[in-house]
Symmetry: C2
């Protein structure tokens, strides 16, 4: 259970968000979940060089940061990426970078929507 998640403007939320993002395994997990849809921990473990337990731990800190949600069906638990919260991270970046406008416009205009997948 995600204990008590910090409020939207709590710096702790950004800590968690960026903290999750700082780990390559976790970014990869997000990508996998985003592109291939919800998965169980054991399914994920099959594709990763680390143990199921390690994956579960990752998923738990991600859930704590609000980046995945777990839904149980029968005996297995399926994790789904909830990427909305990433807006918080983007928000900070946009707020902070001073010379953003041009770059950002470029980014937004660019063909970003061939998404992850590769």
């Amino acid at each position: 259970m995600s204990a008590s998640r910090p409020a939207a403007d709590d710096p702790r939320l950004l800590d968690q968000l960026f903290g999750v993002l700082a780990d390559p395994s976790r970014r990869q997990l997000i990508e996998t979940l985003v592109t291939h849809g919800p998965r169980t921990a054991t399914e994920l473990a099959a594709d990763y060089p680390i143990t199921r337990q390690a994956i579960v731990k990752h998923l738990q800190v991600m859930a704590d940061a609000g980046m995945v949600s777990a839904e149980r069906s029968g005996r297995d638990v399926r994790y789904r990426a909830t990427t909305e919260c990433l807006a918080e991270a983007v928000g900070w970046l946009l707020r902070t970078g001073p010379a953003w406008d041009r770059r950002l416009d470029r980014l937004v205009a660019s063909p970003r929507r061939r998404a992850a997948r590769e």
Copy 2:
């Protein structure tokens, strides 16, 4: 000398980038440098609850990630935020979030613009 900084698409770069961002002191340092301009470590230390050495360490990992640059003048070293690299982070986020388009457009349209455009 930032040793060997990873190439633009190296996952290690994202590790570093998000890693830097995951620490509240470091985010604050960036904000300070962005809003108040270049500062020396000792100047910064005056406004922070941590020692100069701690600040220097932070600045070093930030420099390693390409987020600040140090320029020496006489005996003191002045650090300046180089926020361009944040684009890399934003890039990943945009590439990854599947339901981004609407939110992003909203974010872009929102009053983020307290920064000098030109």
